[in-house]
Symmetry: C2
Subunit: 425 residues, 2 copies
């Protein structure tokens, strides 16, 4: 189906055919959900050994009684795992509670209100500040900025990561830009992994802007490969060391999509100077993270080899779902001008760009045919996708059959919305 | 020993005798620690069944899979337990992660920066604001204020709680006072429980000041009784309902000193209006608390009866330590003008007031004789005890023999410092 070359008669005929197909789908009273970027029950069950794994031995490797108070930055073996995941040294890591989002919120808060390197480094004294947001991106990143009154400016995502020519130009031109959100591997939602060149250029941004600029490197899918020959992301701290910009990047990760989504452990990695400033504030709001749960995780996943083996089991569960989405998209839109998408080799999402002005209509049609999709616009700051194109597809929770069924509905909705838009153009 | 009636010759003789005794103690090379308000290993072991208690059943009572994301305010059965502990309704409670201190920090932050009831209720727009701090009090409360730039003004603690005449007068006179810290039961560190009259008067403070004034009611020792006929604290929400001031109090509690100190669950209770405002901000920093750990706790302590039974086991461990402190204080200072203290029926601390100007000297002498005490001044905002009198004694971690030994050192140090101060007066 190529709408740009279609005659009005063809369009009208397609509209009639698709409306009939849509009507049939509606009559099936489906109830399917592709909105939730979370693990399925089968995935969660891979880690059920966590409860009871301590067998009465509550001592960390260094003898710490993990049951008691204390240890603001986590137990040593959890730090080692975090350092291995994020590619940093042991003194560059902090292990928190069950949420990397919380660590991100706290870090933006500290940088803004109190300063990561003393009060004179606080962004609040710079007047109104801004964050660069590659789009489409992760709505919860945008909510943090909105909550803290930080303006968001967007930059497009390419297959290699954010458009770095634009990023560099914007940062050079505007010293009020103090931060940038990145999901560098299997990006939420486009699924792309940043190229080595992109990583190197991001590590050099500190050179062209103010010293308190920080990159928020949310490596949420660091080990979430679906392929046995996974995409390699260049460890950004290696680049930072090369360019002397260790203070400019703060990394995050968690086990939320490795063990139990709501009951994992979270990691933050940065220069010792940034961590020192962060901990000075963190220490006024907690005596320490849940070290018992950290120890449980390290008993289940004592090292990277165990972690990698564990992740292959997730891949076995997720792969058929991703395949269903990608096969359906290829079949339906491979030979068309109706949309574009990447083929992620990991992560939780596939992102589909409709023709301009169609995303909201597709989501609405799908909802009315019993298929829930993430609201159009959610992947943009302020919920505003200026071209109304991006739709995030999250296939991990439903069964393979359900994903397949949902994608067939998706196909008809995209085609119908696109044809109708073209008819009205 | 009564210094006020002593002759210079008596004082000199005492100084010589006590110096000799102190020297003997110093020669013993002791290494004792009365600083830490945390459970002993024996107490922690009471809850070791937590790990493994789920036996593969990760479903909350309402069917929620606690392993996955979601549920910003906790699982229903945990809410019920929190509501029972704090004396509120189910819709007035939120269950968090492992730290009530974190909930307190977040609540002060939200009230200050964002407003608990919309942006127009934010304290930051009132100019420099203040908190009332009954003293002596809990240093981590004071650190929150200091971190957030909130000035602290002090009011004395009496045996019935804060001096309410002063509290009311100060609040009436100064609309910049937006908050007040309270540890209403077995107060940290004096050990007193607020009288019903004090509770009622605190619940009526909202009437005499601005609508955004909030009492931070840290009921950390709500169920931490050492007696079988425990002191009863009037539930403040009952008073608030009576006086129509439900929005004016925010309560906190946790299982930190019930189960595993660093791996418990925390509770916050307030009006539905306050909780709504709080959750609006909380939701930008987390997807939800660790519900698996909440479920573990509810399997161990399904109701108040189980909780009370559990707490009697703590009391059996703590009681001999408290007895040692109180017996030693009675024996050493019962017939003297050297100090004053309360006899707490629960909690974690005994608080000793020396003669004015002696606390620092006592702590220093004790340290040099191998007995660590909490730094003098720590129980006051900015670390400043203006009369240099208060010393917090935390006897739960050492063995009974160690507490006994440490208290004998304490006795000599108090006497020696007091006599020396009197000689130099």
């Amino acid at each position: 189906m190529h709408l740009d070359q279609a005659t009005p008669e063809q369009l009208s005929q397609w509209e009639a055919d698709l409306s009939a197909q849509y009507q049939t789908l509606q009559n099936q009273s489906l109830n399917l959900d592709l909105t939730r970027g979370k693990p399925s029950a089968d995935q969660l069950s891979l880690s059920d050994a966590l409860d009871g794994i301590l067998k009465g031995d509550y001592r960390a490797a260094d003898g710490t009684d993990v049951r008691n108070y204390g240890g603001l930055d986590g137990i040593a073996e959890a730090k080692q795992l975090g350092a291995d995941i994020l590619g940093v040294q042991l003194d560059e890591i902090l292990v928190g509670g069950n949420s990397s989002l919380t660590l991100m919120f706290q870090t933006v808060l500290v940088a803004h209100q109190f300063g990561l390197q003393g009060p004179e480094s606080a962004w609040k004294d710079l007047g109104p500040v801004k964050f660069l947001c590659p789009v489409p991106g992760y709505d919860r990143h945008f909510s943090i900025c909105e909550q803290l009154g930080i303006e968001m400016v967007t930059v497009p995502m390419l297959a290699s990561g954010p458009d770095m020519d634009q990023v560099e130009a914007m940062i050079k031109a505007d010293a009020q830009i103090v931060g940038m959100w990145c999901v560098p591997k299997y990006s939420n939602p486009t699924g792309v992994t940043y190229s080595d060149d992109t990583v190197d250029r991001i590590a050099q941004l500190a050179k062209i802007t103010n010293p308190n600029f920080r990159v928020f490197w949310d490596n949420a899918y660091a080990v979430h490969d679906l392929s046995t020959t996974p995409t390699r992301l260049k460890p950004i701290m290696d680049s930072c060391r090369q360019f002397g910009s260790e203070d400019s990047v703060i990394q995050f990760a968690s086990t939320s999509k490795i063990t139990h989504a709501g009951a994992g452990i979270a990691f933050m990695a940065s220069s010792t100077a940034n961590l020192k400033g962060f901990k000075a504030v963190l220490g006024t709001s907690t005596i320490g993270p849940d070290k018992v749960n950290q120890l449980r995780h390290l008993r289940l996943l004592p090292n990277m080899a165990a972690l990698t083996e564990h992740m292959t089991k997730h891949a076995e569960i997720i792969n058929p779902r991703f395949s269903s989405v990608l096969t359906n998209l290829d079949r339906a839109f491979g030979d068309s001008d109706l949309g574009a998408w990447e083929k992620p080799e990991g992560g939780y999402f596939i992102s589909f760009d409709t023709r301009p002005g169609c995303a909201k209509a597709v989501v609405k049609l799908a909802a009315e045919a019993g298929v829930k999709l993430t609201p159009a616009g959610a992947t943009f700051p302020y919920g505003n996708d200026p071209e109304d194109r991006n739709i995030r597809i999250a296939p991990t929770v439903p069964s393979v059959e359900e994903v397949d069924q949902a994608m067939q509905v998706f196909e008809v909705c995209v085609k119908l919305a696109s044809v109708r838009a073209q008819l009205n153009a």
